[in-house]
Structures are given as structure tokens and as C-alpha cells.
């Protein structure tokens, strides 16, 4: 499906996200927020495989990630980073995508272990998704089987500097190229694949719609997806009939 040399480690900001703010104060504020984002990373470790075993040492007294402001969090709502630590079976991948979509942007994905890069030792398994970035935009890959805690922290620092400098914008690519990602997902899960999250609406909400957001795959999705609109408060049932 994808070639190995396509691993996106660094990304240039895409055009849609690159709107400039002219107010210098706002600029300072943006910088501050970016700085804080880089110094406070809540990670959700989706412990799919062996790589998970390297995380506890990274968090406890030997390496202590908290001194870098990195904390584990348990729900996607609170997390900034999604850590995928090992091979991703197809069944797991559905959950990963759901979890990713429930995370709050700006959000980042780190693939740990070779399995997330190219399938690793499971490269010929019928049951695993080989290349994670086909389904989600991955910000940092930390290869190795398994990478040592030092390598994990090094990868984290990489991401931190990316965030601080504003280069880590991969979460926007998911909205901008939704059709591409959805297509890959549909190939794997079948045509009736959908998640509760309405990505297209979110893309609109963030102003991240591009011509690549919608396409044949999203058309397929919209055929059977009934978007879950928020249950707004209302006083009578008539409003609903109007819409």
C-alpha cells in the first residue's frame, strides 16, 4: 500500500493551516501556548504490543518523564499524544482510529517499535495492519524492537521541539486528507466502516476543509452514515421537525 520511504517524519505546514496572525501580541500568545504545549504533554499509551514494557521505566525513577512535563493520561479526551507501542492488529486498529478521533487537537501520534513502521516481524501476518501512517497521520516513529526508554524519551524530545517550533501539524493532515485515510480504512474494514465522530463536520469546524477532504470514500461513508448531531437543549419537539 505504501512505500517505506514515505515515512513522514517532518512536515511542512500545509497551506490551510498556515494562516498568519498579524497582531504581535497574538503572536506572543501563540508562542506561549506552543511552548506550554511542548512542555506539558499528556500521553495516552495504547499498549498494543511489546513496546509497552519500555514505558514504565521511562516514567518511573530511572528516567522520570514527568520532569519533562510528560504525564500518562488514560482517556483520549485528556491526552495530547497517542503512543502506539507495537504491532496493530486489524481489530485493534479500529479502536486506535476511534481513540485518535476522540482526542483533542492539537494531537500527535507516536509509533513505537518497528511493527508500526512496516509491520516488523509480523509483516506477513494476515491479521495486522502493517503501516500505521496509512490510517493515521503519525508524527514520530521510534523504531526498534523494542526501542529503549532512552530512545522513547529522545523521540518525545523530538516531538517537543517540533511542537515548540510549530512543525508538528500532522493532526491537520487527517482532516485535510480525510478521504485518503478513510479509503485505506475502508479497504481494511469494509465499506460500512464508520466511527461515531463526524470528521467532516469537525474539519469544517476547524476550517480545515480541502479538496482532498472529500472524495469517493467519504461519499461512500455518507451513504450509510447517519451523523450524530449533538443533542442540543430544546423546549419543544417542533424544531426538530423543521430541520
Amino acid at each position: 500500500m505504501s512505500k517505506l520511504d514515505n515515512i513522514p517524519v517532518r512536515h511542512q505546514p500545509t497551506e490551510a493551516a498556515g494562516r498568519k496572525r498579524t497582531n504581535p501580541l497574538a503572536h506572543v500568545f501563540d508562542e506561549l501556548v506552543k511552548f506550554c504545549q511542548s512542555r506539558s504533554m499528556f500521553m495516552l499509551h495504547y499498549c498494543t504490543g511489546c513496546g509497552a514494557i519500555e514505558l514504565p521505566p521511562a516514567m518511573t525513577s530511572r528516567f522520570d518523564m514527568e520532569r519533562l512535563g510528560i504525564q500518562p493520561m488514560v482517556t483520549p479526551r485528556q491526552a495530547d499524544i497517542l503512543l502506539i507501542t507495537g504491532y496493530v492488529s486489524i481489530k485493534t486498529l479500529k479502536r486506535i482510529i476511534l481513540t485518535y478521533e476522540q482526542m483533542q487537537s492539537p494531537k500527535y501520534v507516536i509509533g513505537i517499535c518497528s511493527c508500526t513502521v512496516n509491520g516488523g516481524m509480523y509483516w506477513q501476518s494476515y491479521a495486522t495492519a502493517k503501516v500505521l501512517k496509512d490510517y493515521l497521520p503519525v508524527d514520530v516513529y521510534i523504531a526498534g524492537c523494542m526501542p529503549r526508554p532512552e530512545a522513547v524519551i529522545s523521540g518525545m524530545r523530538e516531538l517537543m521541539s517540533d511542537i515548540k517550533s510549530g512543525r508538528a501539524q500532522n493532526w491537520k493532515r487527517y482532516y485535510e486528507n480525510y478521504d485518503h485515510y478513510l479509503g485505506n480504512q475502508q479497504k481494511l474494514f469494509g465499506e460500512d466502516w464508520q466511527t461515531p465522530t463526524d470528521i467532516i463536520a469537525e474539519a469544517r469546524h476547524y476550517g480545515l476543509m480541502t479538496d482532498r477532504t472529500l472524495g469517493e470514500h467519504t461519499a461512500l461513508l455518507e451513504k450509510h452514515q447517519r451523523p450524530l448531531e449533538a443533542l442540543e437543549m430544546r423546549l419543544s419537539a417542533r424544531e426538530k421537525q423543521k430541520t
Binding site: 506561549l32 501556548v33 511552548f35 506550554c36 504545549q37 512542555r39 506539558s40 518511573t60 525513577s61 522520570d64 514527568e66 520532569r67 512535563g69 500518562p72 493520561m73 488514560v74 482517556t75 479526551r77 485528556q78 495530547d80 482526542m103 483533542q104 487537537s105 492539537p106 494531537k107 469537525e202 476547524y206 449533538a230 443533542l231 442540543e232 437543549m233
Partner: protein, 299 residues
């Protein structure tokens, strides 16, 4: 005191409380880290966290009540701080008193509970159920302590309580006057603050941080702010009741930090208590000590 001074005080008090509370959060995390032989977060970590959370692009809301809940959680404590006298500022201490304070302190919990309820996530509801149960557990010794103090000092006005204690120097402190009640309060304090080992209600791996499960971005940030206030309020209230409050910030600050630090450091070493064990513990020892203290104090 004229009105403008009062208004300034009312503005300043929550602000001061927030800043001190940030320090307390940091201190707590540092203590936890040090006890685990870690370095712990940097100095400004609480601020980083809060700013980051408010700066998130996505702010998932489950409805109006979700938002109002967070507003109540923060706003309730902002109001509570004005009832709590600190050196140089009495705020509304004479308008409410300690009973009012104790009840105003429940408003944020109620707000949070409402917000969590609106999230429609059972993990959150379970967390609230546990938090409220824990409140039932620790409020009984806590209220006993408050009663004892108010009775012994003969007033519910916190400013008066401070004045009474300071007239007699250290020997006039509540700690000296009613050591048993002070001990009971100290025993209940970790539970009041909802920190280890009494944080079963957030049980991250079990119920995914309970009440916070659907809290993201500024919602989470609001809860972080609330936590600062919570620690501050507990510390200052205990200091006011038993450690003579503070005439000067220079003596006041060490006291309140110590009040938070000492029980925390001890409590951090215990494994987490189950909900019913929280009740069992709180209804047993602090209440027993508190009742004995009352018996002594009222004699």
C-alpha cells in the same frame, strides 16, 4: 472598611489563592516524585498544564450543563476564597462564617457533579458517586472539628477566631487549646483534599479518571484551577482554626504549606483505599478522636 477596599480585597483574595494553590499543586507533585525517587516536574509545570489545556483547539462539550458545571466548580471556589480571611484581608469573613464556608465549598463539587453527569459517561458518574460517598465519609469528622472550634472560640466568624488565637500567642492556638480536635482535623485533611490514598474516585485505570473522563481542554483546565483552590482552602481553613491563622504572610505561608505537605507526605505512603474503606477509616479514627476532643473541649 469602605466598599472600594472591600471590592479590591474580593478581587485579590481569589487571585492570591490561585497563585498559592499553584504552588501547592507543584509541591504535591514534587512530594510524590521525591517519595518515588524521581525528580518531579519543573517549577512552572502547573501553569504549563493549565495554559496548554486552555489553548487546545478542540474543546469537546457535551452540552450546556457540562459547561456550567465547570463554571460552577471554579466560580464556587472563587467565592469561597472571599470568605476565608488571610493576612491583611478579611474579605467577607464576617458575612458568612465557617458554616457558610463549609457549605459554599460544596458548590464546586455540585457543579462538577452536574457537569460530569451531563457527559453521559458512566465512568464519570461512578467517579461522582465515589466522590460523594467520600464526602459523606470525611465531612463527618470535619464538621465535628468545625463545631468544636466554633464552640470553643464562641464564634463562627473566622476573623474573630484568628484574633482570639493571636491574642495569646502560640499557646492560644487551637492546636494547643484542643489538640485532639486538631489531630482529628489533620486525619481527615487528606480525604478532604481528595488526594492519595483517597483518590479512588478518579481511579485512572479502572474508571478512566472517573469524573474527568470526558473532560478535555479548558474543562480539564478548569478542574486543574479548582484543584489549586481546593488545596489552598483546606490548608488555610485548618491553619485558621488551629494554627492561629496568620498576621503576616511570612508566617502564614509556611503554615499553610506545612498543613498541606505534612499529611500529604504521610498519606502518600499508603496504598489506595476502597470507597467503603474510606468510610470505615473516616468514621472510625477521626470521628473517635474528634468526639474525644469535643468532650475535652466542651468540659
Amino acid at each position: 472598611m469602605n466598599l472600594s477596599e472591600l471590592l479590591i480585597e474580593l478581587l485579590l483574595m481569589p487571585l492570591v489563592a490561585f497563585v498559592i494553590g499553584l504552588g501547592m499543586v507543584l509541591m504535591m507533585r514534587k512530594i510524590a516524585a521525591r517519595l518515588g525517587r524521581r525528580i518531579g516536574p519543573p517549577l512552572l509545570q502547573p501553569i504549563y498544564d493549565i495554559i496548554k489545556l486552555y489553548g487546545k483547539r478542540t474543546q469537546i462539550s457535551h452540552g450546556l450543563i457540562h459547561e456550567i458545571g465547570i463554571i460552577m466548580a471554579v466560580g464556587g471556589y472563587v467565592a469561597a476564597e472571599t470568605l476565608l480571611p488571610v493576612p491583611g484581608m478579611n474579605g467577607l469573613a464576617d458575612k458568612g462564617g465557617v458554616i457558610t464556608l463549609a457549605y459554599v465549598m460544596m458548590i464546586p463539587s455540585l457543579g462538577m457533579a452536574l457537569g460530569v453527569g451531563q457527559c453521559a459517561n458512566p465512568n464519570g458518574s461512578i467517579g461522582i458517586s465515589r466522590a460523594l460517598t467520600a464526602m459523606l465519609a470525611y465531612d463527618i469528622p470535619f464538621i465535628l472539628v468545625i463545631f468544636g472550634a466554633a464552640y470553643v472560640y464562641g464564634t463562627t466568624n473566622l476573623a474573630d477566631i484568628i484574633a482570639i488565637q493571636q491574642q495569646q500567642g502560640v499557646s492560644g492556638w487551637g492546636l494547643m487549646q484542643m489538640p485532639l480536635l486538631a489531630l482529628a482535623g489533620m486525619l481527615a485533611l487528606p480525604a478532604v483534599m481528595g488526594k492519595q490514598p483517597f483518590e479512588i474516585y478518579i481511579a485512572p485505570a479502572e474508571i478512566a479518571t472517573g469524573p474527568m473522563v470526558e473532560m478535555s481542554g479548558k474543562f480539564m483546565g478548569g478542574l486543574f484551577v479548582m484543584q489549586c483552590f481546593q488545596l489552598y482552602t483546606a490548608g488555610v481553613l485548618y491553619t485558621t482554626l488551629f494554627l492561629g491563622g496568620g498576621a503576616y504572610w511570612i508566617t502564614f505561608l509556611p503554615k499553610i504549606y506545612a498543613v498541606v505537605a505534612i499529611p500529604m507526605a504521610a498519606a502518600m505512603l499508603f496504598p489506595r483505599y476502597r470507597t467503603e474503606d474510606v468510610i470505615r477509616l473516616m468514621w472510625k479514627w477521626p470521628v473517635l478522636v474528634g468526639l474525644m476532643g469535643l468532650a475535652v473541649a466542651m468540659k
